[in-house]
């Protein structure tokens, strides 16, 4: 074998590794067949076709899109958390904090294919997955940036007084002003893993959520998330809501947020149960309707928490990077540089409230949707069956024949959700 042939064979073998295992044989097949093609340009064209096939199969548009999207998100995260001078000090980059989150967002979807099967064949399911990844990266970036700034005292005395507060011990700068402890960081990481895993499962084929259920969930979640962001645009605090809310608990927007927190998942559960149809349009059993409804409420509030966190933490991030934006969220007020710095510090501290939303909103959603789905889809009672009114109980009905394959009948199949 000549040098050229050995080289092309090595390139072909290397290229074949870009393909999934089931596709590698095909590259070998094209190359083997090239020996039958007349030498010269025809054979070259045949091999070029093989390379084209390799490129097409390796870089399927969807896979390429996913890879590019993740690369863009990772680059944006690195850019946002890149050290920059701020308030008289240079914050240290915390790449050790963002690396685990990037790893979770990159690896868990690959692992989920083995655990939960492929993603549900719906654009809605893929959008939910993208939203989940964006939430994780935005939150981690926000916390990383704010912690990095928070743990380094500024050098200028005027900023130092703001940094230390009223109990500042003179002009002695402290290293570290709280920030999350390692226990808190583990908790955040566990929360992220839980969120990503639950999202991957609920949007996988194995969960069996219908497209209508996903659409209802995302609709409810987006509405509630938008309202919640308007209520708490800069973390969970009354101060942050002041720019466009008078701060009153009776504000209509705040009232609407409370209604949506409890009522949204309940409504989504009832709707999802009603809209669900079996694979062939058959009437599904009540257990399937119940599980679709319960999942819809869980997903709706989870999505709302994600939307609020992405928008809120993103705003906090932007404010931390460009102080000019503080004027945008405090219209009509002239803020000095020191006041802007105080605002930025407070806002960063309040961003932790989004973690509470991420923890508790889905739990509330699951409780409300379970209750609502249980009420809307009651189990059929024995007395409802024909011929059971009054009189002595009749003989037990004959058990139906076993479906072929020893499995349950198609209509009785409940998605592996609850």
């Amino acid at each position: 074998m000549g040098k050229w042939a050995r080289m092309t064979a090595a390139v072909r073998r290397g290229g074949a590794w870009l393909l999934p295992a089931g596709r590698r044989d095909w590259v070998a097949a094209v190359w083997a067949e090239a020996r039958e093609v007349p030498p010269g340009l025809t054979r070259l064209a045949w091999r070029a076709g093989g390379v084209w096939m390799l490129a097409r199969e390796a870089l399927m548009p969807r896979r390429l899109g996913r890879t590019l999207l993740f690369a863009a998100a990772a680059a944006a995260t690195a850019w946002v958390t890149w050290p920059q001078p701020w308030a008289g000090h240079i914050a240290e980059g915390r790449f050790d904090a963002i690396a685990p989150a990037l790893l979770v967002v990159a690896v868990l979807p690959l692992m989920s294919v083995r655990l939960f099967g492929p993603a549900s064949p719906s654009r809605v399911a893929r959008s939910i997955r993208v939203l989940c990844g964006a939430t994780v990266l935005t939150l981690v970036s926000a916390f990383t940036v704010m912690d990095a700034y928070d743990q380094r005292a500024p050098r200028q005395p005027a900023y130092l007084r703001v940094f230390c507060g009223p109990n500042c011990p003179g002009a002695v700068p402290r290293q570290g002003r709280g920030g999350p402890t390692w226990q808190a960081e583990i908790l955040i990481m566990l929360l992220i893993i839980g969120y990503v895993s639950a999202t991957l499962f609920l949007t996988s084929r194995r969960a069996g959520l219908a497209r209508s259920t996903l659409v209802i969930s995302i609709g409810t979640g987006l509405l509630f998330g938008a309202v919640m962001f308007a209520v708490d645009p800069l973390g969970v605090t009354n101060l942050a809501t002041n720019p466009w809310l008078p701060g009153s608990a009776a504000d209509p927007l705040v009232a609407l947020a409370w209604v949506l927190l409890f009522g949204g998942p309940a409504a989504a559960a009832v709707l999802a149960g009603r809209r669900y149809r079996g694979p062939d349009g058959v009437e599904p059993p009540h257990t399937v309707r119940f599980s679709q409804g319960a999942a819809a409420g869980l997903l709706a509030n989870g999505l709302a928490a994600m939307v609020t966190s992405v928008l809120g933490a993103g705003t906090v991030l932007l404010i931390s990077r460009s102080p000019g934006l503080v004027h945008w969220v405090t219209p009509g007020r002239h803020l000095t540089a020191i006041a802007t710095y105080r605002y930025q510090l407070n806002t960063g501290g309040n961003a932790g409230g989004y973690l509470l939303m991420l923890m508790f909103f889905p739990v509330i959603g699951l409780i409300m949707s379970t209750l609502a789905a249980g009420i809307a889809n009651p189990a059929p009672r024995q007395s409802d069956s024909p011929g059971s009114g009054g009189g002595p109980p009749g003989p037990e009905p004959e058990p139906g024949p076993e479906p072929p394959g020893g499995g349950r009948a198609e209509a009785d199949r409940v998605p592996a959700l609850t």
Partner: protein
């Protein structure tokens, strides 16, 4: 509105070529010659047909001396049924199109005289 055909024209040509020897194995280059498709088009079509269980692919058992083993292809029973239906459908569609074209020609030939023309005024 007409329904979207199940197979593309190129896929139909591959199915037709495989239908020529329903029970025999065929090689990639032979299929390329029959269909006129380039390898970069033919093999992705074969991959998709294999994924759908319509085509069976197998490596040659005993290669010719000094040559690598070749990949061979043939229709599965499901593929045969699907190909027959698709090719029949395609033939029907082609016949319908030809009939429609002929009808248009006939209508054009018997089109009424334009307004203003006097009956019987044609030479």
């Amino acid at each position: 509105m007409t329904s979207r055909p199940e197979f593309s024209a190129q896929t139909l040509s591959v199915l037709a070529a495989l239908c020529d020897q329903p029970s025999g194995w065929q090689h990639g280059y032979a299929l390329a010659k029959q269909t006129g498709l380039k390898s970069g088009t033919l093999y992705p079509i074969l991959i998709r047909l294999c994924d759908r269980g319509l085509v069976e692919a197998r490596w040659q058992d005993e290669p010719q001396p000094g040559r690598p083993r070749r990949h061979r292809y043939r229709l599965t029973s499901a593929g045969l049924a699907s190909a027959a239906q698709a090719l029949g459908g395609a033939a029907e569609r082609a016949a319908e199109l030809a009939a429609a074209k002929a009808a248009r020609k006939v209508r054009a030939g018997t089109r009424p005289a334009p307004r203003g023309a006097v009956a019987g005024s044609t030479p």
